[in-house]
C-alpha cells in the first residue's frame, strides 16, 4: 500500500515541479479550442448544430488528457534508460504494485491536466449543462486518464528507447484523437469513418464527457462507462503482464 502511495506521490511531485511541462501541454489544446472553436463556430451554428465551443470543449479536454496520460506511461522508458527503474525493480515489492502506483500517479496527473483545460475553457465562455453532473464528468475524466496511462505503460514496457516515441505520436495518439469525434459529431458520418470511431477508445471517453458536460450523447452514458471500464481493465492486465516481464 505504501509502495503504491510513494510511487503515486513521486509522479505528482514530478508533475507539479515541471511548470514548463504543465504550461507546454496546455498550449496545444487551448490553441485547438480557440482556432477551431471560434473559427468553425459560425459554420457549425449555420448547420443547425448549436454552439461549437460547447460541443468542442469535452473533446479538447479528452485531448489534453490522452496526451498527458500516454506521456506519463511512456516516461517509464526514461526511467529505464536513466536507471531509476532498476532501483524500483530490485525492491522487494511486487511489480503489480509498482505498475499500479505509477499508473494511478500518471492518471491523477492527466486528470488534473484535463481539469485545468476545463477551467480555462470556462474563461472562453464554456458553461456545463448541469453542474450536478460534474462529479460524473470527473469519473469519465479519470477513466480516460487511467486507460491511456495504462496503455502508455504497456507500450513503454516493450519499447527499448525513445526512438519509437515519434511513431506512437503519429500513428497512435493523433489518429486516436482525430478519429474520436472530439472535433465533429459522429452522426451522419460515412459508414467507414463511423466504424473507425466505434473502435477508438477515446470516442467513448469523449462521448461520456459530452454527455455529462453538455448533454449531447452518441453511444449513451452507460455504454461509454462500460466500454471504457472494460478496456481499462484489459489494458491494465496486459500492461501488468508486460511490465512484469521487463528485463534490464
Amino acid at each position: 500500500m505504501n509502495t503504491i502511495y510513494i510511487l503515486w506521490l513521486r509522479q505528482l511531485k514530478r508533475y507539479s515541479r515541471s511548470k514548463a511541462r504543465i504550461i507546454g501541454s496546455l498550449g496545444q489544446p487551448i490553441l485547438f479550442l480557440v482556432a477551431l472553436g471560434f473559427g468553425l463556430g459560425p459554420v457549425f451554428q449555420r448547420a443547425g448544430e448549436g454552439n461549437y465551443i460547447q460541443f468542442l470543449v469535452p473533446g479538447i479536454v479528452g485531448m489534453g488528457i490522452i496526451f498527458t496520460a500516454l506521456f506519463s506511461g511512456i516516461e517509464i522508458i526514461w526511467d529505464k534508460k536513466f536507471g531509476f527503474l532498476k532501483e524500483t525493480l530490485v525492491a522487494p515489492t511486487s511489480r503489480l504494485e509498482i505498475m499500479i502506483g505509477r499508473t494511478l500517479g500518471g492518471a491523477t496527473v492527466a486528470s488534473l491536466q484535463g481539469l485545468i483545460i476545463l477551467l480555462l475553457s470556462s474563461l472562453l465562455g464554456f458553461r456545463p449543462y448541469d453542474t450536478m453532473l460534474l462529479p460524473l464528468a470527473l469519473v469519465f475524466i479519470f477513466l480516460i486518464a487511467l486507460f491511456f496511462t495504462a496503455l502508455g505503460t504497456a507500450i513503454a514496457s516493450v519499447l527499448e528507447d525513445m526512438q519509437g516515441f515519434q511513431l506512437i505520436m503519429n500513428f497512435l495518439v493523433m489518429p486516436l484523437f482525430f478519429l474520436s469525434g472530439a472535433l465533429f459529431p459522429l452522426e451522419g458520418l460515412p459508414k467507414s469513418l463511423q466504424f473507425v470511431a466505434g473502435i477508438d477508445p477515446l470516442s467513448y471517453g469523449v462521448d461520456g464527457l459530452r454527455g455529462t458536460l453538455v448533454n449531447v450523447v452518441h453511444f449513451g452514458l452507460a455504454t461509454d462507462f462500460l466500454v471504457l471500464s472494460a478496456i481499462t481493465l484489459i489494458v491494465l492486465g496486459v500492461g501488468s503482464y508486460l511490465f512484469s516481464k521487463i528485463q534490464i
Partner: protein, 263 residues
Amino acid sequence: MQVIQVKNLTKKFGNFVAVNDISFSVDKGEVFAFLGPNGAGKTTTIKMLTTLLLPTSGEILLNGHNPVIEPYEVRSSFGIVFQDPSLDEELTALENMEFHGVIYKVPTDVRRERIEQLLKFVELWERRNDFVKNFSGGMKRRLEVARGLIHHPKILFLDEPTLGLDPQTRNHIWNYITDLNKKEGMTIFFSTHYMEEAEKIAQSIAVIDNGKIIDQGTVKELEERTKTSSLEEAFLKLTGTNIREEKASGTDRMRIRRRLHRR
C-alpha cells in the same frame, strides 16, 4: 554456510556469450570481490543475481532462493548499489532516500533515523533538500551508496561503488561497509577496478574475463599461483595487458546525447 551459489551460469545475447558457464560461491558474512576488465561480464552476472536479467542457463541460489522462481524472496535478501546512476534527479536527496526506505518497507522511525545518520555520514545532510540534478558526480555517487545502505540487507551488492570518488571518500565509505560486515554479518559482494581496495578488504576473490572465471581464491592464493607480489600484478598476469573495448549500448548513447543536450 554459502549464501550465494552459482552453478554453470550462462547468459547469451543473441550470438554473444556475455557470461560463459561460470560457477562460484560466496560464504555468509564474507567480503567477496568480483574482478575483471571492462566488458568481462561482471555487471551481467550481478544483474542475473539480482533478478534484473534471466539467465540463459545454469542455476543461482541466493540466500537459498532461486531468482528465476522466487524473485520476491531473493529481492528481500539483498541491497544493491548500481554501477550506473539510478537516482531520480527530479527529486531531492531526502526524497530519494525516503522513496527507497518506503519501497523496502523499513519501519518509519528506523527509516528516519538511518536516513539522517547516513546522509550525515556521506556529508549530504546539509544538502538534503536540494534536487539531485544539481549535484556533482561525486555527490550523486555518495548519495547512491548511502541509499543502498538504508535497509541493512543480508547481502549487499556493490557494482563499482567507488567509481569516480576521491581517496578520502572511498576510504570513508569502505570503512562504513566493512563495519556493517563485521557488526551485522552482512555479506558483501563487490566489483571494482581499484585493486588496492580488493586487496585490502576482500576475503575471497574471483577474476572473470571474457565471460569465464579464470581464477578464484584469497589474495594470497592468487599471488602464489601467478608468482606475483601484488593483486594488481596478479590481475594483469591473469587477464593480460590488452585494453578492452566495450560496445556502447543504446543506453550509453542516449546518456551521452542527453548530457550534450543539457549543456
